[in-house]
């Protein structure tokens, strides 16, 4: 059977069970943004890993090498943020094709080092090897969190307010500009930059992790459409999303008019936003949103509700909406 017939997530569900039974006590395996290993009676270790492959995840001719170094680490830090953790150490495996030169790699490393400094992460090891014609980057990150601060995908409850920590769709818009080879202007440059240099919401994740009223949390990597399905599967619930409340930048709105893109579809399915999506106890929602705004001088955006029925519905002013495309599946 072809893996594409199963799809990415069914494929994982197919092979994972043999590895997830009989885990040691205090250990969480496959199924969340990070694996969780209890360190002592106060702290857990968080571990995540992500592989980026040229032409599947990035176009080497489009992305500046320093941005690629930065982004490769950022997407992993985003997984640590999603569990409410602090990243500590990174491990880098590189498969390098013959036509990549030392000077190009120097720029790649400078971008990665920039984010190591910003996030206080130390690169401790890895592997370098020859690849055929695609550059391959695998990063693993180890972080930690206080046990009571860790947030899981499995903790959403019906009635919870669904919130996101940043604007949606800019990265997807930037990717569309790259793939459609649209010539650059200031507007286009900005969206492409948002795709090439995402910011991991580490401070937001740590703060939200410390709030008892925050139930479930994950990062927005494949688009909220796909990511909400992950929360729904783990929490055995559904969700409804109010499209009018999706936060979109003025630049994305402008680009959608200019290029005749569907703003809501891009915001919900574009992917690679790398902000956080969380579900909040309705009793605590108002105060958490107010305190978030005081702390970060930006909004925590409510976009919908968790429901008990296992379905994801989008509403545009009370009218049910269906998208042509859904979130990203690597094997689709």
């Amino acid at each position: 059977m072809k893996i594409s017939e199963l799809g990415e997530f069914a494929f994982i569900d197919h092979f994972a069970p043999v590895f997830t039974k009989n885990l040691k006590k205090g250990v969480l395996g496959i199924g969340d943004d990070c694996a969780v290993i209890t360190l002592d009676d106060r702290r857990v270790m968080l571990i995540t890993t992500d592989m980026l492959i040229e032409d599947s995840h990035f176009l080497r001719q489009s992305i500046p090498p320093a941005d690629l170094g930065y982004k490769s680490l950022a997407v992993n830090l985003s997984d640590i943020a999603a569990m409410g953790g602090i990243p500590n150490y990174a491990f880098l495996s590189l498969g390098i094709p013959k036509d990549v030169e030392v000077e190009w790699m120097d720029l790649f490393f400078s971008g990665m080092h920039e984010l190591c400094n910003e996030a206080n992460v130390q690169l401790l090891g890895g592997d370098t090897t020859r690849s055929g014609n695609h550059l391959i980057i695998n990063i693993g990150v180890i972080g930690e969190a206080l046990i009571e601060h860790v947030k899981y995908r499995s903790s959403a409850l019906p009635g919870d307010i669904i919130c996101v920590t940043g604007e949606l769709g800019d990265s997807g818009g930037g990717l569309r500009l790259i793939l459609e080879n649209i010539a650059a202007g200031d507007l286009e440059d900005l969206l492409v930059k948002r795709h090439h240099r995402p910011r991991a919401h580490l401070a937001e994740g740590q703060w939200l992790g410390a709030q008892k009223g925050v139930h479930a949390m994950m990062d927005v990597s494949d688009g909220i459409d796909s990511d909400l399905h992950r929360i729904m599967e783990r929490s055995l619930c559904g969700a409804q999303v109010d499209l009018n409340s999706l936060p979109c930048s003025s630049e994305l709105q402008e680009a959608c008019v200019k290029y005749n893109w569907d703003l809501y579809e891009l915001a919900a399915t574009g992917g690679e936003d790398y902000c956080l999506i969380c579900t909040i106890d309705p009793q605590a929602g108002e105060s958490i949103m107010r305190e978030f705004k005081e702390k970060f001088e930006r909004d925590l955006f409510p976009i919908g509700r968790i429901i008990s029925e296992n379905t994801l519905n989008y509403y545009d002013q009370d009218i049910l909406v269906r998208f042509k495309r859904h979130g990203f599946d690597h094997f689709a």
Copy 2:
């Protein structure tokens, strides 16, 4: 500049310094078989990662998928063994081309799961994604060791006896048979199997780690010729190796006669043996070798001496020998 002009190890030395300065206390970064992070006043955590790329590290048409799953994990466990540690957890990133089917991956996972069970290792997470035309496997392993049991590449001293924990060259012979497309017989099958399903010397590594007389240790991944250079660089010393004392299986000796291969060159440079090489205080050498034999019912083979001069010399009955090829360099 092309990376091949630098070579794998000079390339690492070129980019590593910016990442290895100002490390947190109790942390060892790039430069040994594993990174080392102090956990408490008794224990350290060991972390290693290795990337295997189709056509660079394996031929998908030659290696049975279960063997590939087994080997991908074994080469990482070997790095934990090399530091005297116990492996605990594994993380797997897969880049899968379109023509790899679910049934093939099931066999791959069965081989990996077999070794997980053997070594009491739990697979806790990873990443699955689409690759172009090459299967890509990245594994990270987390292990632990008692602080006083950890052995480093940097601790060899002039006068130390160099020992290996297993026979050398079988894997290199197996690879040569695969690359030269030599039809299979019992002899050939056995050497190919040694290449496809290496055994990580975990029990040996833990035992040697507990011996005070063992100074430096690493695993034999690129061939002792390359690996001894790594010990020499870190320990600021040299080595002399007695070719007649290199342990070689009767099967390899038979194949060398049959195919007119250079036995010593294959043993010293073939690579992927995944036994351990260590250097032992000459005062303790005899008792450690005797106790090793009692414990494992196999020999700990002395093959040479650490010297102070920074050179690696091979002797065949007191005659200095030079090889045409040296250990494996991924970028050569």
